[in-house]
């Protein structure tokens, strides 16, 4: 077991290094650099940035050096636990991401937990009561959840909130708490704001997992061991929960790997629409303004989440499913 963990951790480090390389290359691909984006913005403000000034800025920010040198500088910073300075914000990247990271993680976990808590029982119900009215209702809602883009759902929910209740559903905090330091009041305020974005974020995941759970469980329910268990007179809920559900659980565990990064990157547009102070909009913005170090750091962060998520889901799978455990540790 320990050897397995060590092997996985080593692989994770190598994967992360590979991610830094790919990230850096991808972010250099679009034409121009931050200074170009900045010159475009300044000219929109009516300021003329001369070519010489642009060159001076490039020099000050090290953008005139070769990509390799820029990359090595960044890698060196990462080794020391730093991530450099965001050009646009003129502040260290860690400070810019700051609180947003924790709110993102909170929101992501909340969304994942909601996904599970809702998807598991609904999936079981749909499978056990296949073709019942309830199954049809859930299937219908599930397909809507899959088909409607979440940002549209967010817009609709906001519009309805405004129209029917005259409340503004955007953001994670009320105006009076936005600037306040952390307190019980602020925490409660956050709890009040959390459900809407949490549900909107969770909905596509719920729909998907319900369908997977239903399909898997339907397969399992027809297996001979289920018939045997029933024949032996086991109570129906025990029959279902103890064996087929456990076997059908695999996708739940294996989805953590992509759910973690999805809730950051997949939620960008939802976060923009709902004005959520998460990392997503920051990533979008840094890509538009070609704010290299900020963008690469966030992508690296996403990579890190994916790697951690995959590791967690593998461990979970091993715990749930003895077949996998035997295979991996051999």
């Amino acid at each position: 077991m320990l050897a397995y963990l060590a092997r996985r951790l080593l692989l994770a480090v190598i994967t992360l290094w590979a991610i830094t390389v790919v990230t850096f290359i991808i972010l250099q691909l679009p034409p121009g650099d931050f200074v170009d984006a900045y010159v475009a913005q300044a000219s929109a403000m009516g300021s003329a940035i001369s070519a010489a000034e642009a060159a001076a800025l490039r020099h000050a920010y090290g953008l005139d050096q070769s990509y390799l040198v820029q990359y090595m500088k960044w890698l060196n910073l990462i080794m020391h636990g730093q991530f450099g300075e965001s050009f646009e914000y003129s502040r260290p990247v860690t400070e810019v991401i700051g609180d947003r990271l924790w709110l993102t993680i909170l929101l992501s976990f909340a969304a994942i937990i909601v996904t599970w808590v809702l998807a598991l029982p609904i999936g079981i119900y749909s499978a056990v009561r296949q073709y019942s009215t309830g199954d049809y209702v859930f299937t219908f809602i599930g397909f809507i959840g899959l088909a409607v883009p979440s940002f549209l759902l967010a817009l609709i929910v906001m519009y309805l909130g405004l129209r029917l209740f005259n409340v503004n559903l955007g953001g994670l905090f009320s105006a009076q708490y936005q600037l306040a330091p952390w307190s019980w009041g602020k925490l409660l305020d956050l709890m009040k704001h959390l459900p809407v974005p949490m549900l909107i974020l969770a909905l596509p995941g719920i729909a998907q997992l319900v369908r997977i759970m239903r399909a898997n469980l339907l397969d399992e329910l027809r297996r001979p061991y289920v018939v045997t268990a029933r024949a032996r007179g086991l109570a129906e809920h025990r029959v279902i929960l103890k064996y087929p559900v456990r076997a059908a659980l695999n996708p739940f565990a294996s989805t953590i790997g992509y759910l973690l990064p999805y809730t950051v990157s997949g939620s960008i547009i939802i976060s923009v629409v709902l004005s959520l102070p998460t990392v997503g909009p920051l990533l979008l913005h840094s890509l538009i303004s070609q704010d290299m170090l900020l963008g690469s750091t966030i992508i690296l962060l996403l990579g890190f989440l994916t790697v951690i998520g995959t590791l967690l889901s593998d461990l979970l799978l091993m715990w749930i499913d003895p077949r996998i455990r035997a295979g991996q540790l051999r």
């Binding site: 679009p30 003329a48 001369s50 000034e53 000050a60 405004l162 629409v273």
Partner: protein, 683 residues
């Protein structure tokens, strides 16, 4: 303003009073726009009145309660010591206001610094009257231009202070000129604003309150440059934010500690490293940016207390602000300005309609006007439409220096071809669809109320729909052959002539507008391909001289010399009408290509000569330039003088001293010159 040609706009603005106007009004009522013209959405240009006679100034002063407490605690000097002996005195638009309240507003992120710059724009040395026509004092109280136009003397206010209480004076101008502007690492090349005819000017201290600007050639235009939204005259907020280093003055007493000149490069770099910056220059750019650095001394009505990088960008009243009302109350009335982050414009518009903002004109979408009006009662706000003065909110700029394809070049540089394109545009259809009929169709020439307008006929020149004449013109210049689909073909290889239009998403949906124009051009047999590009990529194409036609507006060109780039190719920063030519002009002929079109050379002569002319001569030159532009159509105007940019204003009914119409123009720094420091919360 009484000579304004009658148009729907004139009716809307309530300017029509003559019998002919009444007749026009009646016919306008018959149109579908009746509700709009009766709605009173467009008011009259108005604002607070500046009291310049010292005999009428107040002698007793009062201050906001939040400062009174600080004074009592001994943390702040009393109000009479904080305001200058020669303050700026405002008679508010309607009444003396009350202190208090937070002005809630929206911003879109750290790139939206202009949002706050404009609110603090009374940190400019000179500004414009409420109607945008006259230069008025601001930070400086007066100026004189010498008879030869080579010396400009500026007089500052006695006893004026920075927001940290340090004295403000001539030394701050000298610091900017010697330590920032002349430092090649900060500003590598001189700006044209300070170098008429390429000859660099100087700033000299005469005494603590008097500054002299010296030039080698006559530079009468400089008075306008100091009042305009220019690199030299824009003020500290806008010209020293976002890594810029212009703006004529800077708080030397604070910024010296970050400059190597006052210690050493090593010491400054070490300090920068310790604070998390790579080098001193990066740190300097941060320290002099009012939107990022809370410690930076400023002059505007509000100082920043929470930076723009946060979810909420917060400004708080400046205890040393230099203006008072006629009752002696130190301005501003409102305690705070709170910008809340809204990264999506749809969301900002939605929130505005819910009444979440107390005053908001920036980011408001003209296309949503019907819904915005619908929600007035519910959101407890009133809508005002502030019409602009510029000729074109949607301007097709034809690249005159294009070379990549000789056939395309031949047509882009052919005046009749351009005129035909212009006459092939149905401006009324554009106006009804995208401006809700509120704009004014015509050429790029600015509105008739502007001093540089050459006459009403030039607003129409080649700019009225005439398919027959356009087709005849195209046939005559050698484009008579058409393919089977009815499109005109190239003269070199017989393939269809394809003109490319580059459009980016901006104040208006430019790509959609371009598609409509492309559709209209089918009738004159011209195939136009609209390319929607991201702004960065589009700019790169332009710099490489690769575009045929680029879409932008010509906002700011109503005062031609202050912002000429969207009228004539002189500024390589955004030279959509010919990057190679603009480079040639800006470099004094050392780079770029010399135009072969005598009209461009003629405009350049008129333009550069104007700097040395007095105001009448300058306006005459500008009129001549506009005549050439209207006749030559290197920029094709469509619809303008509308509220499309910054002109849809939602104001909470709780606010007082609000103008029914504010000057919506670049030089007015909308809403800056309506002086938000005089607005107040009635309830």
């Amino acid at each position: 303003m009484s000579q304004v040609k009658l148009s729907r706009r004139a009716v809307l603005s309530g300017l029509a009073a003559s019998p002919a106007a009444m007749e026009f009004l009646r016919s306008a009522m018959a149109e579908a726009q009746t509700s709009l013209s009766q709605s009173g959405l467009v008011g009259k240009l108005e604002g607070p009145t500046m009291v310049t006679d010292p005999a009428k100034w107040p002698t007793k002063f009062a201050e906001a309660p939040m400062f009174a407490d600080l004074v009592k605690a001994g943390k702040l000097p009393p109000v009479e010591q904080r305001i200058p002996a020669e303050p700026m005195v405002w008679q508010p638009l309607n009444e003396i206001g009350k202190y208090g309240g937070t002005w809630r507003r929206a911003f879109t992120g750290p790139g939206d610094v202009e949002n706050g710059n404009r609110i603090n724009s009374s940190d400019k040395c000179f500004f414009w009257s409420a109607d945008g026509s006259k230069i008025v004092p601001s930070v400086a109280k007066a100026y004189e231009l010498s008879d030869d136009g080579k010396t400009y003397i500026m007089h500052l206010r006695k006893g004026m202070k920075w927001s940290d209480g340090a004295p403000f004076g001539a030394d701050d101008f000298v610091f900017w000129f010697e330590d920032m502007y002349s430092n090649k690492e900060i500003v590598p090349v001189p700006i044209p604003d300070m170098s008429p005819r390429g000859k660099p000017g100087r700033i000299v201290k005469v005494d603590d309150l008097t500054v002299r600007f010296e030039f080698d050639v006559p530079y009468f235009l400089f008075e306008e440059m100091m009042a305009g939204d220019t690199n030299i005259g824009g003020g500290q907020s806008v010209r020293q934010a976002q890594k810029l280093s212009y703006g004529a003055y800077s708080p030397g007493h604070y910024l010296k500690q970050f400059l190597p000149k006052y210690s050493s490069v090593d010491a400054c770099n070490a300090k920068a490293k310790a604070a998390g910056f790579d080098n001193w220059l990066q740190m300097f750019h941060y320290k002099k940016d009012w939107s990022l650095n809370t410690e930076l001394p400023t002059l505007g009505p509000w100082k920043m207390v929470q930076p723009i990088t946060q979810q909420i960008w917060l400004l708080e009243r400046n205890p040393f602000y230099y203006a008072v009302d006629t009752a002696g109350n130190q301005l501003p009335y409102m305690d705070r300005v709170q910008f809340t982050l809204g990264e999506n414009l749809e969301v900002i518009n939605l929130r505005a309609m819910a009444g979440d903002y107390d005053e908001q004109e920036r980011h408001m979408d003209l296309g949503k006007l019907p819904v915005i009006l619908d929600n007035q009662k519910k959101g407890n706000y009133t809508v005002h439409l502030d019409l602009g003065f510029a000729g074109a909110d949607f301007l097709l700029q034809l690249n005159q220096s294009f070379k990549a394809d000789p056939e395309i070049r031949k047509w882009l540089t052919n005046a009749d071809f351009r005129r035909a394109l212009s006459m092939g545009i149905d401006r009324d259809q554009l106006n009804e669809t995208f401006w809700l009929g509120i704009g004014t169709p015509g050429s790029p020439v600015p509105g008739e109320s502007m001093p540089q307008n050459p006459g009403p006929e030039w607003r129409k020149k080649w700019s009225v729909l005439d398919i027959a004449q356009a087709n005849a013109m195209l046939d005559r210049i050698g484009l008579s052959k058409k393919d089977s689909a009815g499109f005109r073909v190239r003269t070199d290889n017989g393939e269809r002539l394809r003109i490319q239009i580059i459009a980016v998403q901006a104040f208006l949906p430019y790509p959609k507008l371009s598609e409509m124009v492309a559709n209209q051009w089918i009738k004159i047999g011209i195939q136009a391909d609209v390319r929607e590009l991201e702004r960065n990529l589009a700019m790169t194409r332009v710099r490489n001289n690769e575009h045929h036609i680029y879409i932008w507006n010509n906002g700011g060109t109503e005062l031609l010399y202050l912002f000429p780039r969207h009228a004539i190719p002189v500024d390589p920063t955004e030279a959509y009408m010919g990057p190679d030519y603009a480079t040639y002009y800006a470099s004094g002929g050392t780079q770029g290509t010399k135009p072969d079109d005598p009209n461009i050379l003629k405009m350049w002569d008129l333009f550069s000569e104007a700097a040395s002319l007095k105001v009448e001569g300058r306006n005459k030159n500008a009129q001549e330039i506009w005549k050439i532009l209207a006749d030559q159509q290197i920029g094709i105007g469509t619809v303008g003088q509308s509220p499309a940019g910054l002109g849809v204003r939602l104001v909470s009914n709780r606010l007082g001293n609000i103008a029914s119409r504010v000057c919506n123009a670049q030089h007015c720094r909308t809403p800056g010159n309506s002086h938000p420091e005089t607005w107040y919360f009635k309830t």
